[in-house]
């Protein structure tokens, strides 16, 4: 009731201060009385208004959720006392990838031992409309921005827009960072026809839309890139790299699902300057993960094919293609085994490479893995390489999302 008491005091004081002036100005007692009555009425209206507002406030307070129960420990943001700059720091993680190779391969430049990549990730919400993700990659070749983009999450019409530098959504494997690949290397077909060891990551924009339908998750993606990769290279502002992808997904049962995609990319060729290049890709992924045993068993079968078209000289085109197929099986909580078959042409000649791999992965925890891979490759130059590849992957910092 304190606000009302205060209001009384203010009004009475105001009345006392103004009363003599009113009296002197208006000597007619009836007019004076009328004025006082008016003031009283105004005051009563005000009092009632405040009383109603106070009652409404009290009702709202009573309706609010109960305070934290006795003994409850609702944690405070740890850095709250240290200033807002720390509270708003992004999630930070650092991932190291140590790689090794044994065996002869005259066509590979992979060293016997190397810290092949250190990736630092910074991820946070920008504002109510967007989030940002930065991935910096340091390797023996130097430091580069692998991805740095903003994703607008609140667009109308079910659109999702990503702008910045990002991995192109071509097929399944190109969009994967090295540390979440199920192998120590990228399949031959992607190595030969879509971006080498690193894949295609470029500056541009990606717009995707879910296509509503009764049967499946259907996502249509359109992307435009500068054209600064190992596949597409632009030398003029008017020359850009365009990419489209349609992805369909459906749960077959509670523990199995099928993921299908078709991708198309067109742009100025990086391999045959002055001409355009095209790539068409198809991918299929089958997953089996029984929910009750999800931490012990899963099987993922993947297949991906890529067709390439390059123009060597005016009117002379080179068509190449390739594919890989793989199966990875988790047979214990921390153990995974995999097999992969590869075959791929090369973009600028008729040579074909083929190969196969067997891999074994041990994951001590979610934050590290040790992988060994036997790889046999038969190159178009009639060279066969048998190699043992090794990978140690480790991460610190914020807990990232599980790959899917």
């Amino acid at each position: 009731m304190q606000p009302i008491r205060l209001l009384y005091v203010c009004l009475v004081t105001a009345f006392c201060l103004t009363a003599p002036a009113v009296a002197s100005a208006q000597d007619d007692p009836q007019a004076l009385r009328k004025e006082v009555d008016q003031l009283k009425a105004d005051f009563e209206t005000l009092r009632q208004g405040y009383a109603e507002r106070l009652a409404a406030l009290e009702a709202r307070l009573a309706a609010m959720p109960a305070a934290a129960p006795e003994g409850a420990q609702v944690p405070q943001a740890p850095a709250a006392a240290a200033g807002s700059s720390k509270v708003f720091n992004p999630d930070i993680s650092v991932i190291g990838n140590f790689a090794g190779a044994a065996g002869d391969n005259p066509l590979s430049d992979q060293p016997a031992l190397s810290l092949s990549e250190v990736e630092a990730a910074f991820q946070a919400v920008v504002d109510p409309y967007a989030r940002a993700d930065f991935f910096l990659s340091a390797s023996p070749e130097g430091l580069e921005v692998e991805e740095a983009n903003i994703t607008f999450t609140s667009l109308p019409a079910g659109l999702l827009l990503k702008v910045g530098k990002m991995r192109a959504q071509f097929g399944k494997v190109n969009a994967m960072h090295t540390h979440i690949l199920p192998w120590t290397d990228r399949p031959l077909v992607l190595h030969n026809l879509f971006g080498g060891d690193e894949g295609v990551s470029d500056s541009g924009a990606s717009l995707s839309k879910l296509i509503p339908n009764r049967f499946m998750f259907l996502d249509a993606i359109g992307e435009v890139y500068l054209g600064a990769s190992d596949v597409f290279h632009s030398e003029a502002r008017s020359e850009l790299n365009y990419l489209g992808r349609l992805r369909g997904y459906r749960d077959l049962t509670e523990g199995t699902n099928l993921d299908l995609g078709v991708s198309f990319a067109h742009g100025p060729s990086a391999l045959s300057p002055g001409f355009d290049a095209q790539r068409i890709g198809m991918d299929a992924t089958f997953r089996y993960r029984p929910l009750r045993r999800a931490i012990y068993r899963q099987l993922v079968g993947r297949a991906e094919g890529v067709w390439s078209r390059e123009e060597l000289v005016s009117g002379l085109q080179q068509h190449s293609s390739g594919f890989y197929g793989s199966v990875d099986y988790q047979f214990a909580r921390r153990w995974f085994a995999g097999v992969r078959g590869d075959r791929s042409g090369r973009p600028l000649d008729d040579l074909h490479d083929s190969g196969g791999s067997l891999s074994l992965t041990f994951r001590p925890s979610e934050f590290s893995l040790i992988r060994g891979q036997y790889r046999r490759t038969h190159y178009g130059e009639d060279v066969t390489a048998d190699e043992l590849l090794f990978q140690l992957n480790f991460s610190i910092g914020a807990h990232g999302a599980h790959p899917f």
């Binding site: 309706a63 609010m64 959720p65 109960a66 305070a67 934290a68 129960p69 003994g71 409850a72 420990q73 609702v74 944690p75 740890p78 919400v125 109510p128 409309y129 989030r131 994703t151 999450t153 609140s154 667009l155 079910g158 659109l159 999702l160 879910l210 998750f217 996502d219 992805r247 997904y249 459906r250 749960d251 509670e254 699902n257 993921d259 997953r287 993960r289 929910l291 009750r292 045993r293 999800a294 931490i295 012990y296 909580r333 921390r334 925890s365 979610e366 934050f367 610190i396 807990h399 990232g400 999302a401 599980h402 899917f404």
Partner: protein, 302 residues
């Protein structure tokens, strides 16, 4: 005439659309159904018999989240490995973190095991904001239901009285069930048990059981031989006869332990749907309490 009425009905559609709720677990989904009744449609993402830490962020979940008016999450980083990509990919501004349709159910509950001091991954997969399995205390279930009721009333003010009435009814049934559970568990207060993972601190504290060890050496780290040997020693010394296991963990190690120590391995439902009997939130405790009581009767003779 009938055809005209039907066409008009189709054109007009339902008077008021139900609030579309997506909950990350079946427990939250069950509480939302209790409070929301027929004014809501509810979908739960993780099943009660799967490990809620390891859920695949499937595109079919993106579709569910994209259509939601309200997303209810357990929070405390339980879903950190799978929920963020679903939210980002949902294209749904309502349920983005901080949005009006995003509800962290842990806001007003009693949280246990909040780590203090330096936290590192050497401690296993610890949750820096405390143990996220808090729904396994019915008092917290009541608080979650109240939080959901307030949020639903905010999203659909015209149905406030309906949600209030549903909540009051749930509260009454829960209170009656709590008396039942407390009476059944009372003879076993202070009994020592072992659990596989740290999923049960709220349940055990609520019903007066004393957790003296874990099959996992550290949260999220699979059993090791040395830890198992130590645990067997401890259990023998403390005459511990019960190992509580979630339905998604391998029973091999717990069974090997009870072979040495005597006693039983007990698979409880950590969530609604974790067993076929646990069909809703109250049913979850009915099942777990009756299963524990039956096992304690056998092992303690009380």
């Amino acid at each position: 005439m009938l055809l005209t009425s039907a066409l008009i009905g189709l054109a007009v559609g339902p008077c008021q659309a139900a609030v579309r709720v997506v909950a990350t677990t079946e427990d939250l989904a069950s509480l939302a159904r209790e409070v929301g009744g027929d004014k809501v449609t509810v979908v739960g993402l993780a099943k009660g018999y799967q490990d809620p830490h390891f859920v695949d962020p499937k595109p079919s979940f993106i579709l569910e989240v994209s259509r939601a008016d309200l997303l209810i999450v357990v929070g405390r980083e339980l879903e950190i490995g799978w929920l963020p990509p679903l939210i980002t990919s949902s294209r749904n501004s309502k349920i983005q973190v901080g949005g009006n349709g995003y509800l962290d159910a842990s806001a007003n509950v009693k949280i246990l095991e909040i780590p203090t001091g330096q936290i590192t991954r050497a401690m296993g997969d610890v949750h820096p904001q405390g143990n996220p399995h808090y729904w396994l205390d019915p008092a917290n279930g009541r608080r979650i239901a109240q939080t959901i009721k307030d949020k639903l009333s905010q999203l659909s003010p015209a149905d406030r009285a309906y949600f209030d009435q549903r909540y009051a009814d749930f509260d009454k049934r829960l209170a009656a069930a709590e008396s039942r559970w407390d009476a059944a568990m009372a003879p076993y207060k202070g009994t020592k048990v072992v659990t596989y993972h740290r999923s049960w601190p709220n349940f055990m504290e609520r019903f007066g059981l004393n957790v003296m060890g874990y099959v996992e050496p550290k949260p999220g780290i699979p059993p090791t031989t040395s830890h198992t040997v130590d645990l067997i020693d401890e259990m023998k010394k403390g005459a511990v006869k019960l190992i509580v296991v979630e339905p998604y963990f391998d029973l091999k190690t717990p069974q090997a332990i009870t072979k040495q120590t005597g006693g039983e391995v007990l698979v409880l439902a950590p969530s609604v749907g974790g067993s076929k009997e646990a069909t809703d939130y109250i049913g979850l405790f009915d099942y777990d309490v009756s299963t524990v009581v039956a096992a304690l009767k056998r092992t303690t003779g009380k």
